[in-house]
Symmetry: C2
Subunit: 333 residues, 2 copies
Amino acid sequence: MTGEVAVALDVGGTGMKCALVDTDGVVRHAERHPTDTGRGPDAVVETILTVAEGLAGKARADGLTPIALGIVVPGVVDEARGVAVWSANVGFRDVPLRDLASARLGLPTALGHDVRAGGLAEARLGAGRATGHVLFVAIGTGIAAAHVVAGSAATGAHGAAGELGHILIRPDGPVCGCGRSGCLEALASASAVARRYAELTTAVTDAEPAAGVTTAPDGGSAAGPGPGRTMVTAAQVAARAAAGEEVATRVWREAVEALADGLATAQALFDVATIVLGGGLAQAGAGLFDPLRAALRDRLTFHREPQLVPAVLGDEAGCLGAALLALDQLETP
Amino acid sequence: MTGEVAVALDVGGTGMKCALVDTDGVVRHAERHPTDTGRGPDAVVETILTVAEGLAGKARADGLTPIALGIVVPGVVDEARGVAVWSANVGFRDVPLRDLASARLGLPTALGHDVRAGGLAEARLGAGRATGHVLFVAIGTGIAAAHVVAGSAATGAHGAAGELGHILIRPDGPVCGCGRSGCLEALASASAVARRYAELTTAVTDAEPAAGVTTAPDGGSAAGPGPGRTMVTAAQVAARAAAGEEVATRVWREAVEALADGLATAQALFDVATIVLGGGLAQAGAGLFDPLRAALRDRLTFHREPQLVPAVLGDEAGCLGAALLALDQLETP
């Protein structure tokens, strides 16, 4: 073990997860800060740079040597140019964050995408370790994926690869935040499950149209209960389904089937060895994994069945992935 | 230009396209042979080896030096192990073709997948040249794709990546040869278009159930007209649609819409710069590309629109790709 560390920041719409991570992938120090996006993008950038400087200083004070900086953000991220193209959650639009940060800190800096970085960490340090082809799927208020082959996450030509939440699953399905109908995210995200359950349990007494989803492609969501509704969370729907409640059972089954359709499509295109499920919904455990494995098996014909496993790094995955991106760039000339 | 050439064979269910290709990608000699699969897999393997030997001999007789051998076959191909895992069209099941060929010819040998090799050739020598992220989609009796990034085609963990024909598009759609319902291939392949047109034009006088598609995942198809039907080809349907015939217009529009749904899903996951369409259906020209571009644009929300272009290498693409695989392996230690 050396004293060299990467400074790593995972910037989300609500908070920033920050760490000093050594070259063995061990977290030597961690801290969290609010993002406070209401102040506007310039102020958020300034906070990111100040927090990163503070972490580098903390490293030196602890006798460690910061050798690289990694920052990950949601949305569309052009990793090659180091630009946060569009992060609705954080309020970024074409922010050249990599160059701003490397100028401020004087460290080689990598900018990445939060879900792709999380997938990278799960594939190299977490649940996908030791398998060369991994699909990481984060299911929370939105759904997004990262395809990791040989320890590298696919970015796409414009930094927008892996949008599993926005593939068509039900042509006659509910409207998605992206504007189309029947996207996977509108059927199987945690917010979709909660919304569908609310619709079905209040339909008799509440004739109002369902609250629109305003999920951004980067996973932000403003779906809420309509007037007079009490929102039941997706986790609660899962628990009620497990307890045999009829409406919850139906809502959960429909979400699992939509998710299985989405994963079957991904497997047909990517042919991975392991699918790692992360995000809030994946915490439903056997209540999700058992029926989902069965439904996925039903849908695979000539394809090999991938392992379907829960993520193990929790909400630190993105930050660990930021550290991996920071260290990786040192190896590329 | 050197005198060094790759010996390249693209083995299909009907014929083999063979060539000597130099290190600049120029075809120095080409020949074709029947595959004659009815003789069984052992005889087909023997023919492949004999033809390859003949090509190497031809090269030497012409003053050229064969330095590598590339063979591509349809189906599921494990490129890392050099095994034709399953090629229904050719009758192969777990044939270690790479080692058999390198033992016979004494040349470093690469075994690849026909569509992935075709995609590789289109991406590096053809319609996708100069763009780093390409999706090649072959639409004939079946539908398959190859995702090529930085000049390398994704194989997947088990040699089965790129099965765009077998993603779910219409949950209530027709049964596909793979056993599921509503696959893209059952809706938008050349055989699907021909079958649908036959169904609609003979429905009044023919009460028999539609002939089942028996398309294998490698694109083979045995769909034919039912009793008393005259099969109109997909190209003829396209021509009749262009001439304004009502049923043909409807069939063509439905196929284009299904194809646009499939390409939109692929773009959400891969985020490519260029989609190259090849295979028989792509020869419909503007009659396909104009409505397909419009339908794809309708479906993309926050994603960048890829270029949608026709393949340019024709049926030589697979053979050229076999040559590229043969030459590429010489550069990898």
